[in-house]
Assembly symmetry: C2
């Protein structure tokens, strides 16, 4: 045994709830969990050969968090686009067209540091230049499932008026599809299996029909999932209606895409009937509560989806309108926003939110056989959370275990003390062990400053959202 953690409150996330073991132990050998149980059962001889022993009394050991949807490269634009309409056109696009490859990589590294320090061990990333970003994930020690973004709509969306039908740049679509295929060739099942790939069409409105069918065929041939924004907003609904005279989900259903190979991001605009169709056909959903509340002012239909038996994960989406990559925030917001959506405090209780961010999330993104719960045979992706922080005190197990609601409603992320991924200590005593955090932060700062300055003329001329607030002396 390489690592033994003892005396912890272990949330295995097995069974129907959180699978708690009080004063439990967990053993790691190589990159796998090899033993879990109450510390009292710990055989003395097992102790002798252990390389590292961690006494986790007063701490929680739980599976690492699964971020089902992130655009890591966009972290460079944190806080630049919220409290506004037409987010994609006038919030994001003016900056995106000045994002260099080097800057995008730098943004992804920043996102990786932020996510890791907040206990995320797996993220599903959707961006570019993905091969270089994979090198970051390999080195920093994350588990990642990645797609290279495929779109036939120009990145400079600020030049496309919101109300008009996009014209497709078919050559761009082909090139980006080819890049996603090349990414799969180069990175699928690499870094000892930590990095896997999927196909990443941006959304049904941004890809010509024929190309979408070829992506579907490629996914089947290669045995990879499709990770796509679906029913992500009124912009998409409008485009699909204008081009195909129907709604997104019926359109995708007709193309044969509504099946268990699809990881559908957002589903913001899905009707109750459409939600039933996607859930019952085995589509997995990623719900990004903070991002969709900030960008659209909407609570996506996660609860209905779960009621129809769907598999769901939570995601942090992007930092220009969230503004963080912190699954504690997403758990809390999933619970609170759905309570107010249904005007019922019992909706989405803490234990369900915790399952969405761990075991259910892992299943949704197709990694349920490897991670998401703590049981022998699974990969050793787990975190240790310090319960002595004033905001998590008291720590009680009787008559009820208050730790689970406190993790969801009170924890912020900084309580994560240790992060182990694939059996490797990536964060120890809140410090990143694999790369130079300070260098990543200062490079991202510089890259962002330069990219924002490049975008200034356009941003100031558009005078939308934050630019208008700046102009008016409000921020």
């Amino acid at each position: 045994m390489d690592i033994l953690i003892k005396n912890a409150l272990i949330l295995t996330m097995t069974g129907k709830g959180v699978g708690a073991i009080s004063e439990g132990y967990l053993g790691i050998t190589g990159n796998k969990i090899t033993a879990v149980g109450p510390s009292i059962e710990l055989p003395a001889q097992a102790m002798e050969k252990v390389k590292t022993v961690i006494d986790a009394r007063g701490k929680v050991v739980m599976p690492g968090l699964i971020d089902g949807h992130i655009h890591a490269m966009l972290t460079l634009f944190r806080g630049l686009a919220q409290d506004m309409d037409d987010w994609m056109h006038y919030g994001l696009a003016p900056y995106l067209s000045n994002l260099t490859e080097a800057a995008a990589i730098s943004g992804a590294a920043l996102a990786a540091v932020e996510a890791l320090k907040n206990g995320t061990t797996t993220l599903i990333d959707f961006g570019f230049p993905m091969p270089s970003i994979c090198r970051i994930y390999e080195e920093i020690g994350l588990r990642a499932r990645v797609a290279s973004l495929i779109t036939a709509v120009p990145i400079q969306m600020e030049d496309l008026p919101p109300g008009e039908l996009y014209s497709f740049d078919e050559a761009q679509g082909e090139l980006l599809f080819y890049q996603n295929l090349a990414l799969i060739e180069e990175w699928h099942n690499q870094a000892g299996g930590r990095i896997t790939c999927v196909l990443g069409p941006q959304g049904p409105d941004m890809i010509p029909r024929e190309l979408l069918l070829r992506i579907k065929q490629a996914a089947e041939d290669l045995g990879v999932m499709i990770h796509m924004h679906v029913a992500q907003g009124d912009r998409e609904t409008y485009q699909i209606a204008k081009r195909f005279n129907c709604r997104s989900i019926p359109y995708l259903h007709q193309l044969g895409l509504i099946d268990k190979n699809l990881l559908a991001i957002h589903l913001t605009e899905a009707t109750e009937e459409e939600i039933a169709i996607v859930a019952e056909n085995g589509v997995a959903m990623v719900c990004c509560p903070a991002s969709i509340a900030i960008i659209d002012g909407i609570v996506p239909p996660l609860v209905s989806f779960l009621e129809h038996g769907g598999r769901a994960a939570l995601g942090s989406d992007q930092a220009p309108g969230n503004n963080s990559h912190n699954l504690w925030n997403e758990m809390k917001l999933a619970a609170l926003l759905n309570k107010v959506r249904y005007r019922d405090p019992k909706v989405l209780p803490a234990w369900k939110a915790l399952r969405l961010a761990t075991v259910e999330g892992a299943r949704a993104v197709g990694l349920g056989d490897q991670v998401g719960s703590l049981e022998p045979g699974k990969l050793a992706d787990l975190i240790i959370v310090d319960l002595q922080q004033p905001g998590l005190v008291p720590y009680l197990e009787y008559p009820v275990r208050n730790v689970v609601p406190n993790l969801v409603y009170a924890a912020r992320g900084h309580e994560v003390e240790t992060v182990i991924i694939d059996g490797r200590m990536v964060i120890e005593n809140r410090r990143l062990m694999t790369m130079d955090e300070e260098a990543i932060v200062s490079q991202a700062q510089e890259a962002a400053r330069s990219c924002a300055a490049e975008s200034a003329t356009k941003i100031l001329a558009l005078n939308k959202g934050p630019a208008a607030m700046m102009h008016d002396g409000l921020i």
Copy 2:
């Protein structure tokens, strides 16, 4: 000058927005702010006589946060009552009847540590035993405006079925009113003015009409505000309808309580018409977005109240159903919950949320002439926030200042590095300087464990909410 902070991004919160000064300085002499401006204007001779110089490059200096409503003593029950119906009867009350005075004081000390470390400098507390809790606030260095809770309804509410009219215990009401008067006598304008008192009737449904009129008269005679839950939920609405055949706000209006001397907590159930009445009559509102979302699944009518010109603060309420005392959380949730309430991402932008937690909050609780903004002559209550944390990077001021939205949407509280109250350094490098944090935490832990154990028989017999989840192996 005693303290000089230089090279900071200063959010003065003066004017209509955040009143930003890039690379600014702020001087403190005694307990007051004596100078604020751009660092470039700093006279060399001023530097020579300064006792403490803080170089805050890459940091934000802003007013300390105002928590407009907290039941600090209840912090001992953090995480014990959420995701359930009938919160007050079956969530809180079974524990509350076992809360000893010593335990309540210990809970309040824990709340104070948590609040301070998250940048709260003023809190409006409502509980008991308030004189002892005041001694904690005096020692720990907080600014507090306190009321001793007055109610004529027995604390053991779990024995009152939710659907029945309460009978009043008039002697208890008299005794608690007397205690609040004694608190004012002993603590009003004490601790160098840091501690002030108000009158604290629990709610219009929990106080006999005649007693409420006497409280109103006492508030006028003593020149103190009334801090009262108003329209806090369907339970209150039901009680008032049954007893007086009307709704809470018309009832209070008729008694002459709807005026600028009233700090109305929650207003959860207020109609649009009632909100107009309270706002236009000068009542101040405290909105507790997290607590009301968790307990009731409701977004209170804060935005309407502001549109009618009302003065509002944010509050963290109580830890058995919030579950934290962290104004960063309240700012974020005020913004997000109102965006989804109105399905509009422009509603309650970050700068407005930041104002609610500072300058507007101070005005609402009646301390606007003393704290809430950074300007010469005001008391030196301020915080320094570290922007180098990965979750707040990048830090940009051009073409837009992304710091303001990131403080609201991305900051968690642990980024607060320094807290100065009344010119005194209370938190320095994230460490509490005035009391022994570790001792407070461990005392609270022990007190909570004992109190929870005392309540176990009743909690397990009721088998509601978290107890049922525990029974079912879910948490």
